[in-house]
Amino acid sequence: MMIWALILIPFIAGLLSLFIRVDVLRRSILIAAAVCHTAIITLCWLENPEPILAGWFAFDATAKLFLSIASVLFLCASFYAVGYLKAERHEPKKDFEEEEFFVNAPEAIFTACLLMFLMTMTLAITSQHFGLIWVAMEATTLVSAPLIYFHRHHRSLEATWKYLLICSVGIAISLLGNFFLAIAASAPDGSSIPLMRSDLAANASQLLSPWVKAAFIFILVGYGTKMGLAPLHTWLPDAHSEAPSVVSALLSGTLLNCAFVGILRAYEVTAAAGLLPFAQNLLILFGLVSMAFAAVFIIGQADYKRMLAYSSVEHMGILALGVGLGGAAVFGSMLHTVNHSLTKAALFLVAGNILAVYKTKIASHVKGVFSLISVSGFLWIAGILAITGFPPFGTFLSEFTILKAIIEQGRYFIAAAYLGLLAIIFVSFSAIAFRMAQGRNTENLPAKNERWLSIVPPAVLLFGVLVLGVYVPKQLTNVLHDIALLLGGN
């Protein structure tokens, strides 16, 4: 029942907002749907809801963690979005990079797509059947594409096209992976195990291991494209830099996680089939490569939104690495998922504030954020410290947990690479971001009053990261442990 509500509320709200012409009403529907969604999630934490549709959708530990992240982030983002939409004008306006005029997509479509995005994410995270996961995952791509193309100019169109094509192809490849899994689950007489996560895990010993291997590779590559694992990440920086900041926050904080859930489901089955070392090595490889790619591109990155996007690639790498290492690192990785989502969403929202005032995405053109918009400047610095893993933020705790696990396993080479890449990213990140915050603005921009709706959501998110750095609630620890146990950790 609760799961039905989680799926249907954003769906109905999305449909409604397509037809409502009054801006205020539509915006309040957005907020109401987000609040309802989060409220139901909170109820679900208190009392675990029943699976629906013969167990096709269920609220297991993984779903619990990832859906809660998505819901909280969406709530914050929806408040921010209302402020953002108020500030955006309907008439054509000037593109600040090139002297051209463009219009925004109709607000009704934008709101509807946002809500549908929430629905498809809920579907993708809660579904237990591999075919259904695929359907929902492709649906998230399709409904988020119009979100990226909110500003109708050619750069965002380019980003949308790349996003659509690369992600669709990637996801098609993971469909093939699903078919491989179906073959792995069949017996010579043609009978087969249903593609449900629980059934597969329970009968894992009967799975044919060559096909399971092939299935895992294809699913990893397919969903990895969407998750932004290098070298399949090419759509990610473009989409994140060109989408409105609130959409970037959602993409980075929730959509990438969704794809990660898809990989984790396949990983769970692969591990149960006795192929844990094989899957682990693949994840470690992809993780380190992603971190390396991100480090290279963050050094001297001119565009601060792209910098944040590459940081997402880096953190997805850390997540994959953590899961691949096994042991205590899986726990760390799951904790890092929470921390990264909150931090990165907050950072993108703050970047949106900076962009709104300075009208440029070039980092070197932004000076004196502190003096001009002091709250955003403060949040920006806090977010940068958090994302680079500085104590006392939660990211420090989770990254440190992973590091500890690597050293305990005696994998010093990986430890060195991990630490080295984190250090490089820290240095280049702070070099770019601190220069933006300090100094005084040379363009003589007028000081602005910051709207509540644009600073409270990121502040709340960052506060959450800060709390997680000091104290991790018992319930959360339990959930993280449950997931870690499924994924070959402890």
Binding site: G131, L132, E138, Y149, H154, L157, L176
Partner: protein, 209 residues
């Protein structure tokens, strides 16, 4: 025998897609491919569920997509794929190698059960590779969508090889996703043509690093 003929039809349509520059012909050929694939499951077993699904997919791939794409073609007034990254002769020669490669792969990964045709798996993989190749080697956005469709056809053909039938709901979901995917891409192409006066994706290069 009919399965074999459909397999050959798939191969031939793939070769045509690899070797032709005329977008209209490409659209038609991909439609033929989709229809042939829709018939395939009905050759061996007849169930109502299967029939409904086959009819739906034939309508979608044989009528809706070609009509939609041809309309886009007319609106945009582009008819040819000019100067692709990989020439047509080379693309055509790539075909047999791709098929040899997919045959080799399918020998390496034997199926746990027997299926109607030993050619099904290699041809499905071949179609998949051709689709991917079209996407990366052509410049026009429309051709890339056709590549995506060919790739999707390959995956669909692969699905035929699976003894285990996915539940109807999921099959329909996959079909719906493909439909909406092509629809959204069609809209995107339309916007690209308005913004850029062409649909060459190699000109989409403002975003770097």
């Amino acid at each position: 025998m009919w399965t074999d003929i459909i397999m050959v039809l798939l191969i031939l349509t793939n070769m045509v897609v690899l070797g032709t520059s005329r977008l209209r012909a490409c659209i038609r050929v991909v439609a033929v491919q989709g229809v042939a694939l829709g018939i395939l499951p009905l050759l061996h077993s007849f169930e109502w569920q299967l029939l409904i699904f086959a009819v739906l997919s034939i309508i979608l791939k044989g009528i809706v997509f070609p009509v939609m794409l041809s309309r886009t073609l007319r609106q945009l007034n582009v008819w040819q794929e000019e100067s692709p990254y990989v020439g047509y002769g080379l693309s055509l020669l790539m075909g047999p190698f791709a098929l040899a490669f997919s045959s080799w792969i399918s020998l390496r990964l034997p199926l746990p059960y027997t299926i109607h045709s030993t050619m099904l798996i290699p041809v499905a993989l071949f179609t998949l590779i051709v689709g991917l190749f079209i996407i990366v080697s052509r410049k026009k956005a429309l051709t890339q969508v056709l590549g995506y469709l060919v790739m999707e056809n390959g995956i669909y053909a692969f699905g035929m090889a699976i003894a285990y039938h996915q539940p109807m709901l999921i099959e329909l979901g996959v079909l719906l996703d493909v439909f909406v995917g092509v629809f959204v891409m069609g809209i995107a192409i339309f916007h690209i043509s308005r913004q850029f006066d062409h649909i060459n994706t190699d000109q989409l290069s403002a975003l770097r690093n």
